[in-house]
């Protein structure tokens, strides 16, 4: 396929030396990037804080497209599932939106009594120059709850910049809560958003090990927990991008060390638990962890056998938001005996891509910030059986007669943890093995003619 020339250096094929891949570039004008914006990044990270008010300051679209689209669950309040907007109108754009923002905030805080409020700025707020900082300060004074501006104007960068903005916002909460009574064996869980209830599972693992979880950041998150998060002994950070900045800042400011983990796939899940146990260096805890892993594996591995047999040698392609997840997926597919032929992410770093190149087979395509046309050509070239991605990628896969597994924020299936591996295998299996593919035009033999269909308005 002819690539847009400017895109060439964001695609690499394993084995073709030397390795260079430029990333974290602005998306190219006119290429249909699968990326979102700064606001999206901030919103993803902060959204699961369930007892906070999330007010989007801007025109309606930015808020309405993010209304309850993610599967981040809460065990209590569900304020996060509402989509609040100032719905700026022309007059606000001309005369400024500060007054409206202030009134909207006061109205909503009075109505919902949130524990804190996050106010997201969108593109035009950056242009009309509203002093969000001042409005937030004023409302904070009047209402007595933290009111935190999130500088997330979409055009200020990509999703990654949004993660940083979100971390900066949370940094204003951390350190303001009471930390007495926190166990020395305590952690914060960073970078899990409780999709399909995953953080409950992970918390349970840690509790079985004898580790206290202080704050969920941010899946099923609570403002008060985050305020005392600096009292935890360790930050356990999942995912490459989203909450790394916060961990770094907590290390600098409060001396809380951090480790990076992933809860996807058997190896990474077990490693995560061992890493935490090793950090605390407590023999009993280590023993409990071994026991836990053993029990879980005894339960899981026999059940996986069936899927391994069925899926052996099938080809997988991966395109996800963060590259850390891509690693886990590569390993998970390996465990199933499948072959990864393409892997990419929206926001990986050069080093991460290099590492991906190291663990993948020669010829594997590695790609940063791709677009539908490229994806199409990769899927066709590699004759992929299953594609792992987000909702935007799904119709592309389906049109090409390729199976699909949703591994993004919209999913409703639990894919983390040991049981998550089984769910994952099941989901891959249910797509790859479906009999429907035999009818798609790629596979159908003998009835190819049925695949040429005249449109209602044929071109002359």
């Amino acid at each position: 396929m002819e690539l847009l020339k400017e895109r060439e250096e964001q695609i690499h094929r394993t084995g073709e030396q030397p390795f260079t891949l430029s990333c974290n570039k602005d998306s190219l004008a006119g290429a249909v990037s699968q990326r979102a914006c700064v606001f999206c990044g901030s919103r993803v990270v902060l959204y699961p804080i369930a007892d906070a008010l999330h007010l989007v300051h801007g025109p309606i679209g930015c808020a309405v497209y993010t209304w309850d689209i993610r599967g981040a669950l809460s065990s209590g309040p569900e304020l996060h599932r509402l989509s609040f907007s100032t719905d700026l109108q022309e007059i606000d754009v001309i005369f400024g939106g500060e007054k409206k923002l202030r009134s909207a905030l006061l109205e909503l805080i009075e109505r919902h009594s949130p524990k804190a409020a996050f106010v997201y700025s969108t593109c035009i707020v950056g242009i009309i120059g509203d002093d969000m900082e001042a409005v937030c300060r004023q409302v904070e004074k009047e209402t007595g709850i933290p009111v935190i501006p999130v500088k997330s104007e979409g055009f200020m960068g990509n999703k990654r910049a949004g993660y940083t903005a979100a971390c900066n916002a949370m940094a204003r909460l951390i350190g303001t809560g009471e930390t007495t009574g926190i166990s020395p064996y305590s952690i914060n869980i960073l970078g899990d958003f409780n999709l399909a209830g995953e953080i409950w599972l992970i918390r349970e693992y840690f509790e079985r090990m004898g580790v206290e979880v202080v704050a969920n950041i941010t899946g099923d998150g609570r403002v008060a927990d985050i305020q005392r998060a600096h009292g935890a002994a360790l930050n356990v950070v999942q995912c490459s991008g989203s909450t790394m900045d916060l961990a770094r800042m907590m290390e600098d400011e409060y001396g809380v060390p951090s480790i990076r983990v992933s809860y996807f796939g058997v190896e990474d899940m077990a490693q995560a638990l061992y890493d935490v146990a090793n950090h605390f260096n407590d023999p009993e805890m280590l023993e409990r962890t071994r026991q836990l892993v053993k029990e879980e594996l005894q339960e899981l591995l026999p059940k996986l056998e069936f899927y391994k047999k069925a899926l052996k040698g099938k080809k997988a392609a991966i395109y996800v938001g963060g590259s850390f997840k891509a690693f886990s997926l590569v390993k998970a597919f390996r465990l199933l005996g499948m072959v990864v032929v393409m892997v990419g992410s929206q926001t990986g770093t050069e080093q991460e891509y290099q590492e991906l190149a190291e663990i993948t087979d020669p010829g594997t395509i590695i790609v940063d910030d791709t677009n539908p046309l490229e994806l199409t050509s990769f899927l066709e070239e590699k004759e992929v059986d299953i594609f792992v991605g987000g909702v935007k990628e799904r119709p592309i896969a389906y049109k090409l007669g390729v199976g699909f597994c949703d591994h993004n924020h919209e999913r409703k299936e639990m894919l983390a943890g040991f049981v998550g591996m089984l769910n994952f295998a099941e989901e891959v299996y249910s797509s790859v093995m479906s009999p429907v593919w035999r009818f798609t035009c790629q596979k159908e033999k003998g009835r190819e003619k049925m695949c040429s269909i005249a449109v209602a308005n044929p071109k002359e």
Partner: protein
Amino acid sequence: MSKNPPNYISTTNACKLCTPLGAALAFKGIEGAVPYLHGSQGCATYMRRYIISHFNEPIDIASSSLSEKHAVYGGGANLKLGLMNVTQKYRPQLIGIATTCLTETIGDDVKLFLREYEKEVEGEKPIMVQVSTPSYNGTHMEGFHNAVASVVAALAGKEGDEDTSGGVNILPGFVSPADIRYLREITDDFSLQATILPDISDTMDGPAAKTYEKIQPGGTPLSSIASMGNGMGSIEFGHTMSDDSGGVLLARKFGVENVRIAMPMGISASDRFFDHLTRLSGSPIPEKYRGERGRLVDSYVDGHKYIYGKKAIVYGEEDLVVGLTAFLAEIGVMPILCASGGKSGKLAEMIRQATDDLLPEQPQVHEGMDFYDISELAESLGPDLLVGHSKGYPLAQKLSIPLIRVGFPIHDRMGGQRILHLGYRGAQQLFDLVVNACIAKKQGDSSIGYSYM
């Protein structure tokens, strides 16, 4: 009954989408077109995700991907670069350019940029149609209608053979691919040559294909648009759009008679549509549709008792709400609240006109509503049914009443693109849905386990 709408400053769970989304969808219904948003990247990505979840079809919306420095110095250079890249990669026949809030606010002069582009860039270029779509002014429906009007303004003409002229122009607004296929079937059966603008029946509901098409085949042919000025008449669905709609422009510029009718939903509104087709074609209503109508009336009679007097809340785009309300009123369901996020100022009057002789009392009708407002009113109204798109589901769940899914978006069921709303056949499907939802509710609420209702 209080007829004052709730009046809050903040918006919670909006009942509208933003302007460029409508424009992008309208452009998707033009042959060989790629929608393009002049703005930052996020908007395009969000809209694609939102649209894909309904249609289950790929939709590529290109973007200028403006970053901070463009926001300060203007997005002209990126627009041109983007257009060049789209041209090179997609080889479109047309690029439909919609602005976003950002580029409207910084005051980018897209018209000027396009003139410059025309001069600066060599070689063959696709047709560029541009529409101004700030979201702080209107909803996705304004975006949709304005994009259609822009296409008409830019491309409609009197091309083609005068003798073969005399087709009919249908501007259906935002309806489903299934609706458009049905409209085509109807006009074919009337032996009318019809230009349906826009036509998303193939582009947003395509068959499985051998290879991935960069631009899905289908859409209103450019050549048909070019001869819309020869039409013997235009039929435009909806009453709430502005006075500069596509149909009005055709009338003004080429003298093509334009009739605006309510969306043909239910028997009365569909009758009016068929009357116009009869008048324009000079032929009587084909047998087939008399049959459809007859079976529909028959089923109205068969099912009327299950639904008489049921109270319904209807929400969504204004013209859709008018159409649905008229349909519900004629089957004996009592619309009690009609709500839209749109603000045409015409909603209440249109509903009154459509239902005056059917309803003992007019429903509450409110514009500029969000789901918080609807929810608040619903508490005291005690509805039996919700009628609208998927986003009403949380309310339906809270009230334990059925939701009849129509319109856009359908994000929690299969087949949103195949829902048929229009004409006798659409009314038949809606009628069965409504009646069966009421029956299922009664059946489910009973502990007896009736297998005979």
